[in-house]
Symmetry: C4
């Protein structure tokens, strides 16, 4: 199989996995940088992730214009992807989610912090994007390049960015990594919520502990990814 | 297919979807205005939503009397539907639910407020109906026209009304919209509960943000609705 | 079919339903008064409820001795059932559960109270049984007639009794009623926990509201029971 | 069947059960002492527990070296198992998990304590292992004999040890017992969290109550184990 075919298969798997793990419901999306066309990325047409198949994948340039005359309805928020890829050459894949445990941290003055090794990728902190700052009153969506660029600036060199009143994004050096981070960001939010509400003193990971595990994770990430593909990827 | 057939199919789908999404259990119901008979609405006979099929649908007038001599047992609380349709010409569909995350807000002095865009329909607030005010001690059910009318008055021009010690209703301009609102009202309740218990300061949607997304939602609501029909509607 | 056959079928269904609804896991049990033999009740042999079939049902007298020379291993805690049937002639069926939302109320000074109509049966309060009072240090189980009798005394004329450090029991005038109460006791515990942790003022059902709904419930309980049998009872 | 075959079958079942009960996800592992080779234990190769089959089981000595020239990738953290078996001759089986309800207690100054009989095995307390004490900044994993030995020392003669910023381990005199403890440790964490957040006074099990039930449990543990095998073990 060509590299492109493999990458598209993994992107379809990522859509199904994120739906299967309840990280995405009818909304949210996952993209990957095009493996063969510089300055392009791959993203489904506007469709619930659980229903995405190979034929639904569209190629966009970094202006988030569909290529090859594709006129199918795209996600309104594809600019999230285009602008992050433009500002972060190291990023190969991006997930945007409304997962239930994370949105409360995006609305709260309490910061999301890594409470165990699996979420070491949060070590540099998960900044919160406030769309009101530059855009004032909106429908909360990232609808154009300017809003996407502002979001990408808030993300900076981090692995995750929360969006007030909306959701969050995770980025990674591969599809498994962005998916892993989207999943464990919401697990961490659940764990941190529980720890805080217990009422005692909470010990978070030191930055160095978080960094060391995030590095280790690259050697073991194939284990959950293999499980998730087995459980959720299309069988054909 | 006739309009009526399509509407009945969507109403059956709505019953199965709301059960599949755990918005309804053995109790609760969903109705739609009759597409061809002015002053009538469609609602299942007294049956758990998960078991509802086409043949279970009954036509009621706005007095909530079954039409065409249908003598099957109706829901005791059909007056919720008749009275809201009578007072709200813009409403095409109504859901009544006891979903677990919303009932606590109906019993609490803390108000349900939109914490993210998906629940922008809560922007005008979700008033709480206190049945004691007009009816004193009751079994909490909406058992007659007077109680239904009082509930509809509390709803006013809003999209959702909570019922103290009981549950809530959402209304919409279509079946997908009332179902969407029933589902995301309970997601919002979960998110808001988490945000409040985190203990920090919580930022809710401004009224204008909520209004703008609620408008946007009309163009994207087909996405979750398509997913939900695929997953939960009867296959025949 | 004979009455006995019907009752045994409903008892098997109740076992499967309570497992399917996560009210029981590998532990807990449900019994019914024998429909034909005065002073006897029916209860499975020691087995996880999800695995119970007709052949597993044993007849016990109110001393909780197996009848007809049945020597299969009984539940250690069958005395819960025998003693409640002895003290409460109105009770026809009993459920004993460790459901996760209720146990915290059994360990807390905060009382379980009805927060919505479905749990109106809690209206007279759910007293907490403290086994230490009469038995001192134990393994927490109801292992003999004296402990069962003490539990039945704490239950009194109520519909539910919590057991500190252990679980709870619900009783009813029929199998569907005891099952309904076991299920909605744990839903109510979840709702009440959410309402309390929201931090506002909580309005509970007045005793009269609770009593009125509990009466109404007898006319609508067939609806969830029908659903639950369809979903969880053995198909043969 | 030989003893070894039976033990391997139970170990495979334990992997599937712990995944089925959501005690393990893509990570975590369960081991058993080798029934025929002194100073050896059995553990899967590096694989998600839900995917483990007989052929994946590797024999390790107590130095955690694979035997018989097996060169397949082992779990990085196999030293947890080797060192606990070395220090605790009574232990026959060990589970290591990141279950979501327990990790918050591992990060909090609030101690995990038995709130009902099922978690009587926590009676002697669940000490918290702080890897920083001896190892300073790490990736949080137990990567060598020294770290495993330090963890085993913190465990001491207890049945469970929490690992700050990481997870926990349970040990038992048999596979069913270590699995039972891994499952009910996370149930207890959920119950205790609920009880604490209710805000009232919480009564925990007295040490003697906990000890008495933990003893009783040996005679009834076959009930959940039988259920779990029926539901989750491979059918072949």
């Amino acid at each position: 199989m060509s590299t492109l075919t493999n990458v598209v298969d993994d992107l379809v798997a990522a859509n199904r996995i994120l739906a299967g793990l309840d990280v995405l419901d009818g909304f949210g999306h996952v993209s990957v940088r095009h493996p063969e066309r510089a300055g392009c990325y791959l993203l489904s047409r506007s469709l619930a992730p659980e229903l995405v198949s190979r034929d639904d994948i569209i190629t966009f340039d970094l202006e988030s214009n569909a290529q090859d005359g594709d006129t199918r309805t795209p996600y309104l928020e594809r600019f999230i992807h285009g602008e992050i890829y433009a500002q972060r050459p190291d990023v190969q894949s991006i997930v945007h989610s409304h997962a239930a445990t994370v949105v409360p941290f995006a609305a709260s003055s309490v910061r999301l912090r890594p409470i165990y090794h699996m979420s070491g990728f949060l070590r540099t902190g998960a900044p919160v994007f406030e769309i009101r700052e530059k855009s004032g009153m909106t429908d909360m969506l990232i609808r154009n390049k300017a809003q996407g660029a502002a979001l990408a600036e808030t993300l900076g060199d981090k692995s995750a960015v929360l969006m007030r009143g909306h959701g969050y994004c995770t980025v990674g050096g591969s599809i498994p990594e962005s998916v892993f981070r989207a999943y464990y960001a919401q697990v961490n939010a659940e764990l941190q919520h529980r720890a805080i509400t217990l009422g005692g003193e909470v010990t978070y990971l030191e930055d160095e502990e978080a960094r060391l595990y995030d590095e280790t994770n690259r050697s073991v990430i194939g284990r959950p990814w293999g499980l998730w593909k087995t459980k959720f990827a299309p069988k054909d």
